[in-house]
């Protein structure tokens, strides 16, 4: 039985969409107790979010089996994919009782993470300065769009905007068609993942000194860290990286080529002269492979467009998997370009137990990628349970952890501090229920 690396660590999450929920799901997988704080006035928007890119506007596809059910906010695919093994607490932090209970929770917690707009926690009177009075050991992570400090810290950005703002769009695309938008908000998990590493650093520091600290995350800076060599090429040489589609910076050929069938592709990289020779043999040495313009890596780099066309003619006659296995047997990097639903059937992922089946009370049993798939010999991480229903753990958190008497739950519910059904406007679209009203 694997041990849990983060057993005993309590995490408060104010996550929405993906970045911070991703970080917290990793910590939950590793054994932390993650309490996701939402409210019936305002929950994580993905509970009712129509993810437009993913869904092709097919009616109802944001919900499992396209069924809205009685509690659609508990059936969201997006939410239920990204919040495994967490506890859900609904608590309205705009009212005095909510703040008071929240501070009690902070006293008993180790880490607070949020990725709402900069200033939201402040507006609730729950800034780091306030929380550290309550608990000097608390570690707080804020990850608004572009960080907490700086002239544009109050700017808004969706995931798609992060891709544009951070330089990635300018280096992803075809030279003739311009920059492309990624279909996935890469920057979200790209920042969510290392946040966990930085929280561990802060925890180690706290173990030694008793002191907590504040961590200010800008997704653009995290993204910038993933293209450092291009940044330095500008800093040293004034060169601005551009659009190169699938080209390798210094090896040729490399590309994604069509195979038999519709939307079937193979990715190939030729890494050396020996591999090129082996590749030519695999293609049965057509005449063009002997031409001067493809005779060495430099010439192949120069005549890459023509080379791509000729390779594509060869690959077009084959099934993707055939080429992959033929070339891999010769020691050449080749991979099928996996379509999303095919990931579940990938033999390598399957052999290593990448997907884990998790049962959710309202949507049943479904496979999830293990986002902590790293094989750790002592502390293997894996999903601990399903994503929580809204307010599912109110009683556990308030009574068992904070020790408030059970009778008070009814009062809190009456006063709309807690609950399991959202109030009008909680999806952030229509007019909101307000405590003052």
């Amino acid at each position: 039985m694997a041990k849990k690396a983060l057993e005993g660590i309590r995490v408060i999450e104010h996550g929405m969409y993906w970045t911070v929920p991703h970080a917290c799901q990793i910590m939950a997988n590793m054994g932390a107790e993650v309490i996701k704080v939402e409210s019936i006035q305002y929950y994580d928007p993905v509970r009712m979010y129509l993810n437009p890119r993913a869904l092709g506007m097919i009616e109802g596809t944001q919900w499992a089996y396209r069924e809205q059910g009685e509690h659609p906010w508990n059936r969201s695919n997006y939410y239920n994919d990204g919040n495994l093994g967490k506890l859900s607490l609904t608590l309205d932090l705009t009212g005095p009782k909510g703040k008071e209970l929240y501070k009690k929770l902070v006293q008993k917690s180790d880490v607070v993470l949020a990725n709402m707009s900069a200033g939201v926690m402040d507006s609730w009177g729950l800034s780091y300065d306030v929380l550290k009075e309550v608990n000097p050991g608390i570690i707080m992570v804020l990850a608004p769009a572009y960080g907490v400090e700086g002239p544009e810290s109050d700017y808004v950005a969706f995931g798609a905007n992060q891709w544009q703002a951070s330089g990635f769009a300018s280096i992803t695309g075809y030279p003739d068609l311009g920059p492309m938008q990624a279909s996935i908000n890469y920057g979200d998990p790209g920042a969510g993942l290392p946040i966990v590493g930085f929280v561990m650093a802060a925890l180690l520091h706290r173990e030694r000194t008793g002191k907590g600290q504040f961590i200010d995350v800008s997704q653009a800076e995290t993204m910038g860290s993933y293209i450092g060599e291009m940044m330095l090429d500008y800093a040293f040489n004034g060169r601005i990286a551009g659009l190169t589609a699938n080209r390798h910076p210094y090896l040729a050929p490399q590309g994604v080529y069509p195979c038999r069938g519709e939307e079937e592709w193979i990715a190939i990289t030729i890494g050396s002269e020996e591999e090129w020779q082996a590749f030519c043999n695999a293609m049965k040495n057509p005449e063009w492979t002997k031409e001067e313009r493809f005779s060495d890596n430099a010439s192949r780099m120069k005549n890459h467009d023509e080379l791509d066309r000729l390779i594509g003619e060869w690959t077009g006659g084959w099934v993707r998997e055939e080429i992959m296995y033929i070339l891999e047997r010769l020691g050449i990097a080749a991979a099928v370009v996996t379509r999303l639903p095919e990931v579940l059937g990938n033999p390598q992922l399957h052999a290593r137990g990448f997907h884990r089946w998790v049962t959710h009370p309202e949507t049943g049993t479904l496979p999830h990628p293990n986002i902590t798939s790293w094989k750790m010999s002592k502390t293997q991480g894996e999903p601990r349970g399903p994503s929580p229903c809204l307010g599912e753990h109110n009683e556990h958190v308030l009574c068992d952890i904070l020790g408030i008497p059970k009778e008070e739950l009814a009062i809190l519910e009456e006063e709309k501090y807690i609950g399991t059904e959202p109030l009008p406007g909680a999806d952030g679209i229509g007019p909101k229920w307000s405590r003052e009203a």
Binding site: R53, G56, T61, A64, R66, G147, E149, P151, E152, S153, Y155, N161, Q164, A165, G167, A169, I171, T172, G173, Y174, L177, G178, A182, S183, Y186, P189, P194, V196, H205, I215, D216, S218, E221, Y226, I227, E229, L232, Y234, A235, I240, A241, N246, P249, A267, E328, A334, V337, L340, V343, P347, Q348, L349, A351, R352, L366, P369, S373, W374, M376, K378
Partner: protein, 403 residues
């Protein structure tokens, strides 16, 4: 002056190219002492371009300079018996070892976890490889492109009329390094309370495939459509990258009615506030008509305005929008500059430049960015001063190609 978070921790970096070195670069930034162990002719990343001023000097490779900041550098031939012995000496007081050779190489060298664990039970040994240390594809050759492709990110990226494309840079390798970093930090936290080390096996394919987390269920249970979206998404407007007067601007439509109204007002087209424009119709034909109408209005307005005008005006109205920045724009972006993301690093051979600095800003124990080591720069310090080898021993090791 507060101590850095990983002060006192020792890391051995056998990494080459990107994944391993990026992981240990982050550990060095947090204050660990990272000893980069290179083969006598150096990490092959030293010999790939681009180089400083295109001079192919192994001390001037930009990939190497970026990925090895803050480390100490020694050379050691692990294939020699002396090399193995010296390496085992180094392992004795190391907390972390990172390697990204092909699976099986460490075992062939007689330096697998089973062996090293006996020397140092507290060691956290991490192997990063393309597909992991087990499974049918374990020994497959891979490139960044093939990993991104098999992992599922490539098929969804690019234009529908063309071949799918990968993301800019070497993201499979960077993600491999970042996953390793996070796993190691978790293992260090665990070691801190239990005293136990462990072995960590990272598969870059899994690092990429796990990014699909958010998308799985909408596909499996709801038949969501995932096709390449090109620069703009075909079923909603506005969404994506648009040409404007002097460049590209990113615009995203949010579900909020108030934001759509702001958008209509920003363009000076209050008629678009009408309810019929607020949500995209589900009937494809109606939708196309409506999108054409919105686009026609929008394109005229875009061509009359610059990236900066749209960005500032949009943000003042709370509309999610962003310039499509290139690398130069990042260096000039006030938000990055004023947050102090760029730090000047001086290197004895490469010279001075502004490097990307801390990935995240820890206020209590800030991340620091040093410079990359010269080849074998710290041989003396490590072999002579720390391990107690004599000058004669070292001369002999040099003669025999061990260091």
């Amino acid at each position: 002056m507060s101590q850095q978070a990983l002060a006192g921790y020792r890391v051995l970096d056998l990494g080459q190219y990107i994944a391993g070195p990026f992981c240990t670069k982050l550990l060095a930034g947090l204050g660990a002492e990272v000893i980069k162990v290179e083969r006598p002719d150096g990490d092959p990343a030293r010999r790939v371009g681009p180089f400083v001023k295109d001079d192919p000097n192994p001390e001037k490779g930009l990939l190497y300079l970026y990925l090895n900041t803050g480390k100490k550098g020694i050379t050691l031939n692990l294939k020699s018996d002396t090399g193995k012995k010296v390496f085992k000496d180094l392992v004795k007081d190391a907390d972390v070892l990172v390697e990204n050779f092909r699976p099986g190489v460490m075992a062939d060298l007689g330096l697998d976890y089973e062996t090293l664990e006996k020397i140092n039970p507290g060691l956290i040994m991490t192997s990063i490889s393309s597909f992991g240390q087990t499974g049918p594809y374990r020994d497959f050759k891979a490139s960044d492109l093939t990993l991104m492709s098999m992992g599922g990110l490539v098929h969804m990226c690019g234009d529908v009329s063309r071949e799918p494309i990968t993301y800019g840079g070497s993201q499979a390798q960077y993600q491999g390094g970042t996953n390793a970093f996070t796993a190691i930090m978790i293992a260090l936290f665990y070691k801190n309370k239990s005293g136990e080390g462990q072995y960590i096996d990272i598969s870059m394919l899994e690092c990429i495939a796990s990014i699909l987390e958010q998308f799985d269920h909408s596909f499996w249970t709801s038949g969501g459509v995932y096709e390449r979206s090109g620069p703009r998404w075909a079923n909603i407007s506005p969404w994506g990258i648009y040409h404007c007067k002097d460049g590209y601007i990113g615009l995203v439509r949010s579900a909020s009615i108030a934001r759509w109204w702001q958008f209509a007002e920003m363009m000076g087209k209050p008629e678009l506030k009408d309810f019929k424009y607020v949500a995209m119709p589900s009937d494809p034909r109606e939708r196309t008509l409506l999108m054409d109408e919105i686009d026609a209005t929008m394109y005229d307005w875009l061509m009359d305005h610059t990236v900066d005008e749209i960005y500032r005006e949009g943000q003042s109205r709370g509309i999610p929008c962003a310039p499509v920045r290139n690398i130069k724009d990042l260096y000039e972006w006030c938000q990055m500059v004023e947050r102090g993301f760029f730090v000047e690093i001086d290197h004895p051979v490469a010279g001075k430049a502004l490097y990307p600095g801390a990935m995240m800003k820890m206020t209590g124990t800030p991340m620091e960015t040093g410079r990359a080591p010269l080849l074998g720069e710290h041989n003396d310090e490590v072999y002579y001063k720390r391990l107690g080898y004599s000058k004669e021993d070292m001369a002999k090791m040099k003669e025999n190609g061990v260091i």
